[in-house]
Symmetry: C2
Subunit: 350 residues, 2 copies
DNA sequence: AACGAGTCGTGAATCGATTCACGAGCGTTT
DNA sequence: AAACGCTCGTGAATCGATTCACGACTCGTT
């Protein structure tokens, strides 16, 4: 042990200053210090200045644990994503964080990596952290834990999942319409043997439903084949391309809609490497319009949702400054046409 | 109010069960419940079972705020990244999270988005959360706040920043060697007018130093031009390509090393669109080997570090189960040769 | 000049988990 | 059989910020 009266240079001491320290320095009570931060109007300008100055000099940061213990919830919001590898989630996270920061809140990002177990663990963790709300951008269904949490007072908002028959607050782009746009685009180019590749997830199913509607609405008849995948990653996309290449040429689709861009990119790569010409032999439309769609071996046509806006909106809903209902239909998908979907041969000359 | 004796269906009540509730149900004291979770050996197997059963039935989650208030730190680790848009950070985060999860810890990811102000805000937030350690993967310098935090007892580890003259714990791949590999590769192909594009950040400067060393070590003379950029994004990469295209052909480089893959992808896109042939006219090497490098319009040659391993290692260091010193030199870069860097004309026939 | 209304600061109780210090209960040794 | 040592459960204090309830004080009105 070192000298007991040497708090100055000691190595680890000076554990964070408390309201008590600030109060002593400012010559006021602890209550006043607290009010200075939580209800500035309640304390006179003069004292307020003094308290803030003292806090600043001491580097007072506050102990959120103590705060939370008292008030029952924290300034943090939880964001649960299922796959950090997908740039869409990065976009949603960025939008959510910017919005939260604008309101003095913070976002804790947790990545479950498609694991249900970790998803559960993180939800429990969020609860133990008493986050004031959770934004969930899950691929799979709503975990039961989230419902329990809501019953206990912590709200959540689903992002990217349509507000379907379930009664959970949710915002998302119009996936059905996005699928419709993608397929209509292919059909308008004369594509007739369509293929949809995607995972069995609610929002992906909506995209598929849109594809179906487009085909139904088409003047010309067209076929649709569906390839289900486990997860929608580029690697799986490559695998799908391999199975596609094994079949006789007659069975080959002339238009593909992928459940997301990662899948599309993998597919595209696999096809190109095998000598399939895109878009001449087959047109391809992705989904999400991630940044890298534009840099692909053949720039990828894709359907875009305003992901950052979705993330921001979810935060506003949790914070109670925006109504979920008002937001429905505000996130229209948009088809971004690049090179994987140019008409086969009938394009007008440049 | 509903019937006072109907806790079953009430809508929002039953605020999280506490140790007291569990204790009552198990017929023991609160202390025993706590010991059951924190020091299982201290409580007899019989009681332990009873307590755990009671906790389970009640759905006891524990209040981390109370816990933290008492013990002074939380189970969470903080991860501070400067740009969520870069897939490298997603990889580091994934590695860190997996490792943390394996030890019953959690990772709070905060994205400062290159903003110094938000970086500071998040560090303060981490402090108020009493995270037990921070992993920082910053682009810029070590913020002063981190040092203050360490003085107050919260350790941190830098990732991706070389353990240079500063004395901060840091792990990273060998950026200097990576730069050397990239440039050597270009020189071996006969490239003589090299260009390095990258931001002014410590770890990028190391990559540049490696490039310089390769040139110095080269038998043939070669020139090096340096283009500094603010941030290393694809968008900036495109801008750089435009400025490059404005110059007379004689001043055009025949080999480019980019500070990271985002920048490289933007550059590549800009060049290709303008009709520059890659790699015939100019060879290009990126850095980081992000997943999308393989899907680029011309598959991108890149230098790879084991990012996930870096993230995992950082967590292990914070947890005290691995020594920082032991890790130096364990993350060797590796050149992944794809198509943006094939020799110009002298390649052997396939 | 006195009284009511309003402003603003304070003491003390509170949130829930942890942990210290104590002691009851039981087995072992001599 | 007495005394000692262990194991294991418990009461109570504790962490730091918040907030209620109270009261001191100021100021304007009659």
């Amino acid at each position: 042990m070192t000298s007991p009266s040497a708090p100055r240079r000691s190595k680890v001491v000076s554990s964070a200053p408390t309201v008590g320290d600030v109060a002593a320095r400012a010559g006021v009570s602890r209550a006043t210090v607290s009010y200075t931060f939580t209800q500035p109007d309640r304390v006179s300008p003069d004292l307020r200045r003094r308290v803030l100055a003292a806090a600043d000099e001491l580097g007072y940061v506050g102990n959120d644990a103590a705060r939370r213990l008292r008030v029952g919830h924290s300034l943090a919001l939880g964001l649960l994503v299922s796959s950090a590898g997908n740039p869409v989630y990065a976009e949603i996270a960025a939008g959510a964080e910017a919005e939260a920061a604008a309101h003095g809140r913070f976002v804790l990002v947790a990545n479950s990596d498609e694991s249900l177990e970790r998803e559960r663990a993180y939800i429990n963790f969020f609860e133990s952290q008493q986050v004031s709300g959770i934004v969930a951008a899950p691929v799979a269904d709503v975990p039961a834990e989230l419902l329990g949490l809501r019953r206990r007072g912590t709200p959540f908002v689903l992002v990217g999942v349509a507000p379907g028959p379930h009664s959970y607050p949710a915002i998302s782009g119009d996936n059905e319409r996005g699928g419709y746009l993608a397929a209509s685009h292919l059909l308008a180019q004369g594509r007739r043997r369509l293929l949809f590749a995607g995972g069995a997830h609610p929002h992906i199913d909506l995209r598929l439903a849109g594809v179906r509607r487009a085909i139904a609405a088409s003047a010309e008849p067209a076929s649709l084949e569906i390839v289900r995948v486990r997860v929608q990653t580029a690697q799986v996309g490559e695998e799908v391309s391999r199975t596609l290449l094994e079949r006789p040429e007659t069975g080959f689709p002339d238009g593909i809609v992928a459940g997301n861009d990662l899948l599309a990119l993998g597919l595209l790569h696999g096809l190109i490497v095998a000598g399939v010409r895109v878009p001449q032999d087959v047109s391809l439309v992705g989904y999400d319009d991630i940044e890298f769609a534009d840099f692909a071996i053949v720039p990828l046509t894709s359907v875009r949702h305003p992901s950052a806006a979705l993330g921001a909106s979810a935060v506003r809903i949790l914070l109670g400054i925006e109504d979920e209902q008002d937001m429905q239909g505000r996130f229209e998908p948009e088809l971004v046409i690049r090179s994987t979907s140019l008409p086969a041969a009938s394009s007008a000359p440049a």
